[in-house]
Assembly symmetry: D2
Homo-oligomer: 341 residues x 4
Amino acid sequence: MIVVISERATDAEVETLIKGIEARGVSAREIVGEEKRVFGLVGDVASIDAEALMRNDAVENVIRVSEPYKLSGRHFHPIDSVVEIAGPGGAEPVRVGAGNFLVAAGPCSVESEEQVLKIAQDVKRSGAGMLRGGAFKPRSSPYSFQGLGLDGLELLKIASRKTGLPILTEIMSPEYLSDFERDVDVIQVGARNMQNFTLLREVGRLGKPVLLKRGPSSTIEEMLMAADYLLMAGKAQVILCERGIRTFETATRNTLDLSAVPVLKKRSHLPVMVDPSHGTGYWDLVEPMALAAAAAGADGLVIEVHDQPSCALCDGQQSITPMVFDALMRRIERVRAAIME
Amino acid sequence: MIVVISERATDAEVETLIKGIEARGVSAREIVGEEKRVFGLVGDVASIDAEALMRNDAVENVIRVSEPYKLSGRHFHPIDSVVEIAGPGGAEPVRVGAGNFLVAAGPCSVESEEQVLKIAQDVKRSGAGMLRGGAFKPRSSPYSFQGLGLDGLELLKIASRKTGLPILTEIMSPEYLSDFERDVDVIQVGARNMQNFTLLREVGRLGKPVLLKRGPSSTIEEMLMAADYLLMAGKAQVILCERGIRTFETATRNTLDLSAVPVLKKRSHLPVMVDPSHGTGYWDLVEPMALAAAAAGADGLVIEVHDQPSCALCDGQQSITPMVFDALMRRIERVRAAIME
Amino acid sequence: MIVVISERATDAEVETLIKGIEARGVSAREIVGEEKRVFGLVGDVASIDAEALMRNDAVENVIRVSEPYKLSGRHFHPIDSVVEIAGPGGAEPVRVGAGNFLVAAGPCSVESEEQVLKIAQDVKRSGAGMLRGGAFKPRSSPYSFQGLGLDGLELLKIASRKTGLPILTEIMSPEYLSDFERDVDVIQVGARNMQNFTLLREVGRLGKPVLLKRGPSSTIEEMLMAADYLLMAGKAQVILCERGIRTFETATRNTLDLSAVPVLKKRSHLPVMVDPSHGTGYWDLVEPMALAAAAAGADGLVIEVHDQPSCALCDGQQSITPMVFDALMRRIERVRAAIME
Amino acid sequence: MIVVISERATDAEVETLIKGIEARGVSAREIVGEEKRVFGLVGDVASIDAEALMRNDAVENVIRVSEPYKLSGRHFHPIDSVVEIAGPGGAEPVRVGAGNFLVAAGPCSVESEEQVLKIAQDVKRSGAGMLRGGAFKPRSSPYSFQGLGLDGLELLKIASRKTGLPILTEIMSPEYLSDFERDVDVIQVGARNMQNFTLLREVGRLGKPVLLKRGPSSTIEEMLMAADYLLMAGKAQVILCERGIRTFETATRNTLDLSAVPVLKKRSHLPVMVDPSHGTGYWDLVEPMALAAAAAGADGLVIEVHDQPSCALCDGQQSITPMVFDALMRRIERVRAAIME
């Protein structure tokens, strides 16, 4: 860690600062010759909070030489991780990461047994490896449909048992931890909860696969620190998921940041999936962005599929039909072959 | 609600769409003469999800004629709300809103009894009406200090009893709801939890004053919908708090959006406070931004005050000293007088 | 165009507003039954400035039913445009758009005859159809290297004549219009000049192919209006180029908005190229983002290629080497085949 | 300048890098003891392009110890600059900076002699020190009104002569440099041209006062580098102007970044004005934001004033009336007195 001293700082302030730093068992070595006073900190700098240090009045700038995340970083674990997901009953587990490509597909919201089962069968036939579906729905407005809750979870289980597909669904509250532990194969921590640190800790303790979605205003660095919250209990298997960030552009619901895929793959050993449905908000952008994600090196996709595209009000309007999904799956396969040759 | 039909939509698709809308008891009237097919929806449009509708393939655009929030809006409650905050023991309640200006001040993190008490006494002497202090700290990194927790709450209570100042502190988990209900005068829902809908609902049920901080990537509209989550149980008293949004600018920690103050005052009856400490991240920006917030019409301020500015690593580096705070309070008073004359 | 009246507006204000609108030969029809007063404007609404109207005190909201751009829009020209670029001497023209995929490659800055020629020969051998290179360089700092100017242009011409590749280079000032008209095959209007309306008009009058880069804070709609400035003289052939937008994320130099590709293809008939070099700022992100752009349906790529990757200070550090470029070109071809099958 | 070496860099790459740096007459000293290889660069580091260096494959990070701007910085000129503006004929010059507060007011667009003169007289009576008005208008759409051009400039001159107020108006093209040199007292470089480096250089050579508006996606650092372009000829007097940045928030036209005021005052000696009209886009936000800007320490304001608020389509809808302006001027004076006591 490098500390640049402000020109307004008095000698006494610098002395106090350096003493404070050295009290943490870290030594501070001045770099002679620079225009300004600059110190390199040597030792266990993990105990030093760079952001707090930067706000010290005597400090002009701080540079971290190491990343602020650990368990999710490539330094900690240089080889690509594979997350193995147990299926229902005696079904074969599915894998994601290190060359294993996984597509999770299904309706945005679970509506009825018939709907979920029909879509699950369709997407399985087309090659999806996991069933996604919302039971608990985070909604900006308290007046919008909030999902079927535990009843929705039951419907997902039925479709899972009948198709052999494992389930991916979002948890919104620690209240349902034991339900999710028992019934859900991959627990999704949604974008709005990416920095709900209490929830991260508790989900991490379950030791189940977790899909962590990037917050709409979260940096890649913050996402990896959030993954570290999940990994701290030493048990979780984490999949990262890019789903769009909030920018000034209004032509799309979010701006899908596909460069996050190679950046995450470089910095972290965790598998990286992409959600082009929430990432764009429009069904006709799902195919080009799904193909682009595959070409950029993603380990998998999360795609909303709905069988009633003309339904007026359901959230499935960023969804594609099973037929479009089927054609897309073939193209994805060809793109994956193209980049691996 | 106005619905503009896509030029690519077939007659059959439009018919299905309109039937779907009318199935909700809303009638759709075509506006004749427009270049495109445009429908005005008449009736109980609250049951229509504009965002979902916009993603319907036959729809090009949707315009909401009413706001998506209700309980927090001026339509619902045209007169400024006053939030009354009970003090410890027999202390006089303090008020915020409708001309009542309230300054909450105190350390970022609670560290020791001596520290909190000293600062509480200092800020009270300068005119603060509430003691703020962090017991549970949301931190991006799991390796940073996470606060003293319930022990920190105890220290705040001691300082509160000795000074008569009510307490403002942040809740991070439903786990501690009963502790906060019993011990905390104003419960803060932090920026990262602004869309933690489960927490909002549960805190709203307590019926205590709540300070709701704006999420770093939340629009003003989303903030008011989050306030509606708090208000739905019919009991909460809500204070809104602008604390900076995330932009591309890195010279400040966040970009303090002071225009949110008059926008919120226009749209909502709720009191609006501003946090210039987190909003800027640098202690020397706190004074100009605090004065600017008062001039823009804010109903109060949340300010970090710390007595050891030269401490190397504490989070208090965006804090001002009690002496600077004292001078600031006098200036704030003069600015408030200046704009009200 | 739909106009929603503010509830605070008096009848007199509404009357004045409607008269002002009808004075422009547009009729305003009230939509009866809505909760609020809503008017549909019928007639030549192109003469109405929606943004100005929205700021009228009596107006709460305005919805445009038509797009604000014309000449660049699909309504105006439903079929994909092809831009044909004349090569040097008797060389075959190259094409971009409507299935013609074009890669422009070359050094960020032109440095010497030997450098440009060497790189031009290398990229031609790998399949590039155009030589890109900076002669005039827009630099944030006045203390940075500003390019070789007209001397750089001469070096590009030599390389162009020797390889048969047409030249793409950036114009920064109307001062050099005649030089660019004479010597440059595709004139680039850079991101910082996307809304330099004087330059757009003058370049548009030349009637040469123009590559218009998206401004770092420009919406897709603004980009298409900027293209209309170029197209107004009735002569220009315009290629659009996505090159990253400015967001809060700092892991990349810009956030490459690949969803802009299908959105632009849907709204406009103009060819769309992508610049993954400036769009990411890091050479090791160029390959995955180039492949992703091709998969998303781009009509071409602009890629920085430099033969001295270990040079300490040249701008070519977001460049890839000719060898990496060669392998990339093969992969791009395979990805393009994969999505078109 | 501090350079952190990537862990993937080979010894040979580091050697090449260091040689490249030392070839510029800068010495690179390794900081021993750090976890990673870190070098401090000593000497004339101005010749080193930090951004290019950061993109070198062997480099993980670069920290600038000095600011990238010079002439506009406080290091170069520690005392507040005063910009003196000559008035028409023998009128007293007006001043801005170092305690001199200046308000420029007038119509967004110049429409007629009667309009400009009437408004100029009104704002002068209320205490404005300068007349602002648009003759050349930068418009996103080529179909919007582009201003009266040189005819508008003539009207401004008439109003200036009759009131004694100097003129502030925007230049859009080098074509009119001599007209502006002769007729305009303060030349405005608009937000969209903040990085039009050619225009900056040419305007800087005139040696007249310049008002430089911040680009909607420009950092404070970039703004000061743009000011350096103006100052390089050694003649210009520069006033900086905050006018809002582009963010995700749509409740306002831009997000007025008032914290830029104290940040600019700290880093630069140049006067800082604020434009709350363009900065918010709504006339009813002009007053609170103008007062807030004054409280934050701005040296002046640029405010749109229009006498026909009910005009349907003019750009003046973010304008306030002369009467509202008059009351605002009194409040601004009181706020300025309040913060200076």
